[in-house]
């Protein structure tokens, strides 16, 4: 049966901070219903009050939840997020959630590799804390890949946890950390440890597909980013192709069955680029 029942609430912006990169915003929202049940990998579906245009809600990965407050990280990419970026602390929003299924936190391995593509880091610090709490892996390694040093969102936050979290940065232009992408950095870090590791990721489809192809035998859970309609499984708008299996539909609804998937279940070649 369903583990979450969609519920709307009026959330209030507690604190919205523009990150140094400029187009990224860390936002704390007072939303006790969503925050009370949120688990790493789940999302909230947000609508700015009073608007019928833009019409649809927008999904945001939950980056933290405590004391009735949610943290999300968003990037100014379109009209809704442009408006969101202009909103003042104390402003109200319409929050639906938490929605979707989070990361499964039952498997134990020697190493847990968490791989973020850009602001895909949003759920991964939240996840890293949960992995630590549940003692799923003695070694937790977070790898973040970005275009440049300036785009390494929350690298400072990750580095602040260095007592228990190993952080590896990778930038395409080599301005910080290793030169190259997150998958190459993972290959180097995980070399020889594949048999005692599990991978978690959040980021662009290309990165997730590449991880699956390179390490098909390593347990892999990934959160996919996608545009969504309703967020509740009603509209069937956000779908991903699954590896064909008898008796199973060809497509999965990301909002309802995901957004976290077993990386081996998705037919990456058929995903829209």
């Amino acid at each position: 049966m369903k583990e979450v029942v969609p519920q709307t609430e009026t959330g209030k912006i507690v604190r919205k901070t523009a990150l140094p990169v400029g187009e990224y915003f860390e936002t704390v929202i007072d939303a006790p219903v969503a925050a009370g049940k949120a688990r790493p990998g789940q999302f909230v579906h947000i609508r700015l009050r009073g608007n019928s245009d833009p019409l649809l809600r927008r999904p945001f990965s939950i980056a933290g939840a405590e004391n009735g407050k949610l943290t999300i990280l968003f990037k100014k990419v379109g009209r809704m997020t442009a408006e969101f970026a202009e909103m003042k602390d104390g402003a109200e929003l319409d929050v639906l959630g938490p929605l979707g299924h989070g990361y499964d936190l039952t498997r134990k391995t020697g190493n847990a590799f968490l791989v973020a593509g850009g602001y895909g880091i949003a759920p991964l610090l939240f996840l890293a804390r949960a992995i630590r709490e549940k003692k799923l892996a003695p070694k937790i390694i977070l790898i973040e890949g970005a275009r440049t040093a300036a785009h390494l969102v929350w690298a400072d936050k990750a580095q602040a946890e260095s007592a228990w979290l190993e952080f590896i940065a990778a930038t395409e232009d080599g301005t910080a950390g290793k030169k190259g992408n997150a998958v190459e950095a993972l290959a180097e870090a995980m070399k020889g440890k594949e048999g005692d590791s599990q991978m978690f990721a959040c980021g662009p489809m290309g990165m997730l597909g590449a991880m699956h192809k390179r390490w098909p035998g390593v347990p892999f859970q990934c959160a996919v980013e996608n545009q969504m309609g309703c967020g509740m499984g009603l509209c069937q708008g956000c779908i991903l192709p699954l590896v064909p299996k008898a008796g199973q539909p060809l497509y999965t609804r990301i909002c309802h069955d995901g957004p976290v998937y077993d990386g081996n279940a998705i037919d990456w070649d058929k995903c829209p680029k």
């Binding site: 019409l55 309703c230 509209c235």
Partner: protein
């Protein structure tokens, strides 16, 4: 202060406990909205289109937002009639609200066979015939844009179903009253006005349509005035009960449809924004009736025609 209005309505022989239905394709088979439906504010659910065989639907992208609306091209993804009856219907019956089953197909015989199988099941309040889906290559809408085929398919399905039959019409026609008259002649008990408008959005970076299907169906507040106009026209010309839908987001929106001649309304895209949209619209309609001193929905149906004279 007048008494609490009676919100019960009758739609072509289907008794509904409230005036607001959940539109086909926006409420699945009820499973995701169990909590909302259990609260008893909803007049009924029109389940996602069922076809004879299961369908995976169109490849992504399937939806795109538009000004005050959205385009969808889901492609009639559904579990097929047999799985629907075996696995989905028992749950729906348990909700204790009127169940209307929407049926789609690609040939008249498909529709007839699907309708026959559904109709023989217990606990079905009505059948809605979808002759207006814009998102499949053949079938679907082609039965809904010419009066001859529209009348024929209605007559053939009417012959095999026991329950009241609603026919959901496409607005993508020159004169919707002609199609409404045709399905009435074919034996329809009511018409649902309207399905989506065919539309397109182009991705100017990729220089191709955003939707993998090319075109999609436009829904949401953007189409509301067009839908109200269709209800008005049919109500004026054809003597058949009307289910009005298209961009309803609150009780006042819904009352426009009632005043234009609809006996009941449905919310569709609105539920995507708020799972409680149906209940909120119902509450808003009740409030309107109270303020108007009206005791029933029925006494408000079509009265804008009188006022317009």
């Amino acid at each position: 202060m007048s008494a609490t209005p009676d919100l019960r309505v009758n739609l072509g022989g289907i008794s509904l406990p409230g005036p607001v239905l959940l539109a086909s394709g926006t409420a699945g088979y009820g499973e995701e909205l169990e909590q909302v439906l259990a609260e008893g504010m909803i007049g009924g659910i029109i389940v996602k289109s069922i076809t004879l065989e299961p369908r995976d639907g169109n490849p992504p992208p399937r939806i795109v937002e538009t000004p005050s609306g959205m385009l969808n091209a889901i492609g009639l993804a559904n579990v097929g009639v047999d799985v629907f009856i075996r696995e989905k219907l028992p749950f729906l019956r348990g909700l204790k609200i009127p169940i209307i089953v929407n049926i789609a197909g690609f040939a008249i015989d498909d529709y007839v066979e699907t309708a026959r199988r559904v109709s023989s099941e217990a606990g079905i309040a009505g059948i809605e015939l979808n002759i207006s889906c814009p998102n499949v290559k053949k079938g679907g809408m082609e039965f809904g844009v010419e009066p001859g085929p529209a009348e024929e398919i209605t007559r053939r399905v009417r012959a095999v179903v026991k329950q009241p039959l609603i026919v959901k019409l496409s607005p993508n026609v020159t004169d919707i009253t002609v199609i409404a008259q045709a399905v009435k002649n074919g034996g329809a008990d009511a018409v649902a006005l309207i399905n989506t408008f065919v539309g397109m959005v182009i991705d100017i970076e990729k220089r191709r349509p955003v939707l993998q299907n090319g075109v999609g169906g436009l829904s949401g507040p953007a189409i509301r005035p067009l839908a109200v106009r269709c209800v008005w026209q049919v109500s004026k010309k054809v003597d058949i009960p009307i289910l009005g839908l298209g961009g309803i987001m609150d009780g006042n929106n819904a009352m426009e449809f009632i005043l234009a001649g609809a006996s009941a309304v449905a919310v569709g895209t609105g539920t995507f924004l708020d799972p409680n949209m149906g209940a909120r619209v119902t509450a808003g309609m009740a409030e309107y009736l109270r303020k108007a001193g009206a005791g029933t929905i029925k006494e408000m149906v079509g009265i804008a025609h009188r006022e317009a004279k």
